[in-house]
Symmetry: none
Subunit: 226 residues, 2 copies
Amino acid sequence: MNVLLIEDEASISGFIKKGLEENGYEVMQAFDGDIGLHLASRNQYDVIILDLILPGVNGLEICKRLRQKVQVDSRILMLTALNETDDLVKGFDAGADDYLGKPFKFRELLARVNSLARSRGRKANPINQLAVADLILDLDLKTAIRAGQQIKLTAKEFYLLQYLIQNKNRVVNRMEILENVWNVHFDLGTNVVDVYMAYLRKKIDKPFGQKLIHTVVGMGYLLKAS
Amino acid sequence: MNVLLIEDEASISGFIKKGLEENGYEVMQAFDGDIGLHLASRNQYDVIILDLILPGVNGLEICKRLRQKVQVDSRILMLTALNETDDLVKGFDAGADDYLGKPFKFRELLARVNSLARSRGRKANPINQLAVADLILDLDLKTAIRAGQQIKLTAKEFYLLQYLIQNKNRVVNRMEILENVWNVHFDLGTNVVDVYMAYLRKKIDKPFGQKLIHTVVGMGYLLKAS
DNA sequence: TCACAATTGAAAACAAAATTACATCTTTGT
DNA sequence: ACAAAGATGTAATTTTGTTTTCAATTGTGA
């Protein structure tokens, strides 16, 4: 688990880093807001520990930017001397996941970091799979399995199938598919979608009895059991 | 977003429920540990608010069981008067995601629940349907269902029926229909609308007793229960 | 009953989707 | 760096299904 620690006071930063490392975390230190922001947007951290009062950009601001502009999905633990409800609420509004007032006992910090790390681990963990009927799409292995049988898909096929599964039981039209799978936002009469549907069908439907990909004439395609 | 609130004191429970509901949450109350445990394992909640001190099974125990046996992936917010670091750590160890000491301001609770709910990021799945009498039009599946029976419609038929349902209990004339379903704004002398009404009738009225599509001679058509 | 309005069936015209062959680009192994 | 294999797209063709028109027929209201 990676932790980014944005804290200007060297003694506190060092103390936290040492403690977390003893508990199995990898800790990256940033001593001012700009560097913190920079690191956070370049790399993926599981947890970001963020001091509210910092030279350069302040903590609230960093938090907002990380959530809104950079869209990091790290857990953010806000760290500060200000302990009032209002600041706490401001912190959560800015997108913080948790809040800890100084001074704090290290055990307390560790418990919170553990909790955040765990809540992230769970998100990434719950076997990253999508499914319809007996078809499973493994998002980690980037592969499909139907009736227990592995099916090799090319990248485009995979993403197309992923989009279909994410929208199972809903008719999706070609434009929607072009936008979401091909990133094409204007209609330049192509029939790639049709062609790829054929590819997919050959792999995931034809060899098995029950077909999952249905075409709805004049509307689009529908992924559905039966 | 669904919240399960496990709290024995009726006044506190009511106060929280009311506040959360005003903020768009659906709240289920449990007034003792056993019922809470039962509900939590039967249903899927986004957030569980859990009082530590409860009649029946205590909060820590519930938390542990939920995580270990039932393996719920709800976010758990522990709520308690005990505010010591030790209890806090025990709480996190038992699998809580956050911790809030009583007494608390409601804004504070809300901020934490919001944060937990956000971290779960579940998107709702509203059922996209229109209906008159026993006829349902499923906008996702792009299909009609009457008396529980699926009816296949072509694109034009579907959009025509959709227009009729959206204007149920109102006579719509042919021109209106041509404009809204066919995008034809001038026309003289086509009878497509009439033809398609016949198609629709054959599919959605004829096979069932009660007819829904009524013609109002000289005026247009009317979709209505009676 | 007459005149107009609405319905129906069948065929023609049209449009959408599937299929196929092929050209171009990418990746991989040697 | 090269050849071979694989992936991606395009375009033409075939197949399938939908939409529209038209004329014959039936229904409706004064």
